[in-house]
């Protein structure tokens, strides 16, 4: 299972999904209309490292995080 976490202002509980890559995650999340805008403006991290490509394999125990637009300071 892969754990998916939604950070900051995204009001969504974590998911535990049986997926093997980020494209599958995109398929799942695009079903959820409340996520449409967040999917377009959020960055993605796998095990706390940012990725800019969907062509990444996921393995059991991996953690995926969605990071919406930031504003520190």
């Amino acid at each position: 299972m892969v754990r998916v976490e939604f950070l900051g202002p995204i009001q969504k509980e974590p998911l535990e999904l049986d997926i093997t890559n980020l494209s599958q995650l995109a398929d799942v999340l695009q079903q959820d209309e409340t996520m449409t805008e967040w999917l377009q403006n959020s960055a993605v991290a796998i095990n706390d490292t940012l990725t800019s490509s969907l062509n990444v394999e996921l393995k059991d125990g991996d953690k995926v995080s969605l990071l919406p637009p930031v504003c520190g300071g």
């Binding site: 950070l7 900051g8 202002p9 980020l22 494209s23 995650l25 995109a26 398929d27 999340l29 695009q30 449409t36 999917l39 377009q40 403006n41 959020s42 960055a43 993605v44 991290a45 706390d48 490292t49 940012l50 990725t51 800019s52 490509s53 969907l54 995080s65 969605l66 990071l67 919406p68 637009p69 930031v70 504003c71 520190g72 300071g73």
Partner: protein, 148 residues
């Protein structure tokens, strides 16, 4: 040298502590940046969420950039609520030479605003409202939303 605190920062203590930490280390220039919550749009304060694992690796990567220029960075940020006229953010560069310090504090503060994993909310009328209009999508955002 990344410090996170609950609530508003004790700025004078932080600036003093950092100054004294580096006093003997032969840095000619010390430039802190202090961010303080301003009264605007009727807010009572700001509130912050921080995702610490990525903030730490983000900060480490900037510390490496500083080191390559002979400089060092320090940073403190508030978690949770910070009320009007309290400070939420302090960062500083120490460098042997002033030009490096003046350029690096600017570069670092701007990168911080654009990419550090921290989310800001306005505190207003008892609500905590995401500061969406002032927020910046991290570089590389949107891959999960691409049409398939």
């Amino acid at each position: 040298m990344l410090y996170l605190y609950d609530g508003g920062l004790k700025v004078a203590d932080i600036l003093k502590e950092w100054y004294e930490q580096e006093l003997e280390n032969n840095y000619g220039a010390y430039i802190p940046f202090v961010g303080t919550v301003r009264s605007e749009d009727g807010i009572d304060g700001l509130s912050f969420d921080i995702y610490e694992p990525i903030l730490e690796s983000w900060f480490d990567s900037w510390q490496e950039k500083a080191k390559a220029k002979g400089a060092i960075l320090k940073m403190a940020h508030a978690r949770g609520d910070v009320m009007l006229h309290e400070s939420s953010y302090v960062s500083a560069v120490f460098s042997p030479k002033r030009r490096v310090a003046l350029e690096f504090i600017d570069e670092f503060v701007e990168a911080f605003k654009a990419s550090a994993p921290i989310w800001k909310y306005d505190l207003k009328d008892g609500k905590r409202i995401y500061a969406k209009d002032r927020s910046t999508a991290i570089e590389g955002s949107g891959i999960l939303g691409e049409k398939r």
